[in-house]
Symmetry: C2
Subunit: 149 residues, 2 copies
DNA sequence: CAGAAATCATACTGTTTTGGTAGGGATTTC
DNA sequence: GAAATCCCTACCAAAACAGTATGATTTCTG
C-alpha cells in the first residue's frame, strides 16, 4: 500500500482537468505549468490514466486530454489504482504471505487487511467532482494562489 | 505512509513475545526461528522497539526481551511508529507541500490526510493483547501450524 | 505542403529505500 | 572462562522512485 508522487501528481492533474472540462482538451504542458509537475513525468502518468479509461487523448496540435467519465463517477481510488496498481496490503502480501507460510493462522494479517480496507474506503468514497468543486471554491476565495504566475 | 517488512516482522515478534510473556525473557534467536525472520535483521528491529519503550532487554546468557508495557496498553500503531517512524501522509508531505507551495489552497491534501488518519485509527485501535489472544486461539485449533518444525 | 504542437513509446539515470549480511564488542549466566 | 545473548556500526545488492532524454507519430494551422 504505497502512495507516491504518482498519486499526488495524478490527482492534481485530474482535478485540474475536471475544473476545465467544458473547455475542450487540456494539454499536459498546460497542466504541468499550472500544477508545477515535471512535464515529461506528467506525460507518463497520463498514459496510465488513459489505459485505465479515465481520460482520453486528442493527438496533434490543439490536442490534449479530456475526462472520459463523469467526474461524479470517478473516485480517488480509481485514480490511484490506475497509477500505482492495485492497492494491496504491501505487508503480508501474496509472495511474502506464501513465503512465511502462515496463511490463515496468522493473527497479524487481519490488521493489515483492515488498514488497507480503511484506505480504500476513504479514497473510494471521495469523488473527483467533489474535489474539483472544492478546488474551485478555494481558487475563488484565495484568488492569488491559483491564477498565479 | 509506508508499511514495510519492518512492521510485519516487528508485529509478529511482539505477538510472539506477548504469547510467552510469563515465561521470562525470550531471545531474538528463538523468535527468529519460530517466526521465520532473519536473525540479525530482527535484532535491529528490537533496537527500535526498545528505544520506543515497548520492550526491555536482558543481556547475557539466558537473556532476551520482555514486554515493558501491558499488552492491553500497546497498540499496533505504537509498534509501527517505533519501527518506521511517524506515520505521515507520504504524499503532499512536509517538504513536498512546501515545495508545491499550495499550502491550504489544495483540495487534494485533505484526501491524503483522511486516508492516513483512517490507517492510524485501525492500527491504533488494535491492541497487542487482542492479537496475542487471537493467535493463541489459532495455535490451539490449527495445532500443526505453529508448533511446527 | 511545411512546420508546429501535441501525444505516444521506450529507454536511461541518479538517488533513496529496503532488506538484509558481517563482524565485532559488551554483558551475564553456567 | 566459555557460551549465550544483546549491542553497535558498517557494508551491500536489489528494487523502487522521480525524473530526463530521445524520438516517432499524429494532427492542426498558416
Amino acid at each position: 500500500m504505497r502512495l507516491t508522487a504518482k498519486s499526488e501528481y495524478g490527482l492534481l492533474a485530474m482535478i485540474d482537468l475536471a475544473c476545465r472540462a467544458e473547455a475542450g482538451p487540456v494539454s499536459a504542458r498546460e497542466i504541468s505549468d499550472r500544477q508545477g509537475i515535471p512535464a515529461k513525468y506528467l506525460e507518463q502518468l497520463f498514459v496510465g490514466l488513459r489505459k485505465a479509461g479515465l481520460v482520453s487523448a486528442v493527438r496533434g496540435a490543439r490536442g490534449g486530454f479530456v475526462l472520459e467519465r463523469d467526474p461524479g463517477d470517478v473516485n480517488v481510488l480509481d485514480i490511484v489504482e490506475a497509477l500505482e496498481g492495485s492497492l494491496r496490503p504491501t505487508v503480508c502480501d501474496g509472495e511474502r504471505a506464501a513465503l512465511c507460510g502462515r496463511g490463515d493462522s496468522c493473527a497479524a494479517s487481519g490488521v493489515w487487511d483492515r488498514a488497507t480496507q480503511a484506505v480504500r474506503e476513504v479514497l473510494g468514497s471521495t469523488t473527483l467532482a467533489s474535489l474539483a468543486q472544492a478546488q474551485e471554491v478555494l481558487d475563488a476565495t484565495g484568488d492569488s494562489a491559483a491564477g498565479g504566475k
